[in-house]
Symmetry: C2
Subunit: 206 residues, 2 copies
DNA sequence: ATTTTTGTTGACATTTTTGTCAAACATAAT
DNA sequence: ATTATGTTTGACAAAAATGTCAACAAAAAT
């Protein structure tokens, strides 16, 4: 019976999550991973066949953890504004844990689109909760609560406002001339800012 | 006198700009670059010392082209709203040419922050035009034309709303269930959407 | 025309990264 | 104790990527 088994296997996956998705080391080698996990590199090939396979499962694992809560929120029957508020709150929390997951997945999608030599990831269909939420956005627009546009814009605005400042932190820090602590403070205010922006224009359509 | 000289040298740089910053092939090898440019790989080492050095100059070149116009706009004495409008217009155009420049630079910054083994880029100070524009944002806030907050939020909002949908296009396409042509159409509407959002909340501060 | 400089090429060397394999090890079951 | 099972390791092999070099070609300068 495997005892240590799942331990090291999990350890390796968690290390990938840390190194790639939390720290953003997209060029990390298998040796880097092994070192960070404190295990022999060969174990990566033992538990997962290849680096590619390891990254694929790591992505799946992280995505599940990422979506778990937010899908529940989007599928709930909370009133629109409250739902949006909770979604943003939850999403931002996950984002701060794994800021670079999206960048990595996107990079992956790009490589696969160009070469047959597919590195890791997987293409994802539209999640049902997102679809439902998009419909609610549409209703809110019809009700005149938010400016009437293609609902995808509202969704895009949310994602943009939440994600960009986090994934581009190093660049934004230098452009905006902010220290590490300053930036943290700014990020902390974001939730409020985003909500104000999304709902400030009540009935201001033209 | 060098005649062909600058031609191939330029060709190589332009190819890097295409492969890395336009197409997003962050894992492209020197051979990939040489193939795409139709030149012998050794020439990369002849004109630039190493891959690292090549990427460094390519980044500098692209950034210059990128900032050239938008800096003029930000430094001009146009009224705030018009200035913002032109800035966004110009920035979006450049962004569509080189969507992945920022992602690449950020990835680079991250690696350098962690290892001493610096790959390519360079750390950038706050550009003076940005500083000036931030002050103007502050004035607009004092004048009550836009909600009063830390001015960096306004700047962050602009960047986020412009850049995110472009750099995360593959992911957004699947999440929002949009085809290539649908997405292009949405992107085209963005400029208007962004401006409406930024200026919709006139005097709505709380 | 010849020399000099610059550009270009292919073969080779080095380094880095990934993957394989057999042997050693630990643990639980018989 | 011995076997069986899953785990771990180091040595090795293979592949991929980068860099160097001497030779060759083309153009400019003398």
């Amino acid at each position: 019976m495997p005892v240590k088994d799942c331990q090291t296997k999990k350890l390796i996956i968690e290390t990938v999550m840390k190194v790639f998705f939390a720290e953003g080391q997209i060029y990390a080698t298998t040796q880097d991973i092994a070192d960070a996990a404190g295990v022999n590199r060969t174990l990566i090939n033992y538990y997962f066949r290849s680096k590619k396979a390891l990254l694929a499962t790591a992505i799946k694992t992280t995505r599940k953890e990422f979506i778990k809560n937010s899908d529940l929120i989007l599928s709930s029957d909370l009133p629109f504004r409250e739902k949006t508020e909770r979604f943003i709150d939850d999403f931002l929390n996950n984002l701060l844990k794994y800021p670079y997951l999206e960048s990595f997945v996107t990079a992956d999608l790009i490589q696969r689109r160009l070469k047959k030599n597919a590195p890791a990831g997987f293409i994802e269909k539209q999640p049902a909760p997102i679809k439902q939420y998009l419909e609610e956005i549409s209703e809110e627009m019809d009700a005149g609560n938010i400016p009437k546009n293609n609902p995808v814009h509202f969704m895009m605005n949310i994602f943009s406002l939440m994600i960009y400042p986090i994934i581009m932190k190093p660049l934004q820090m230098s452009i905006l001339n902010l220290s590490e602590t300053d930036y943290e403070k700014v990020l902390y205010e974001r939730k409020r800012i985003i909500l104000e922006l999304l709902f400030s224009s009540e009935g201001t359509k033209q």
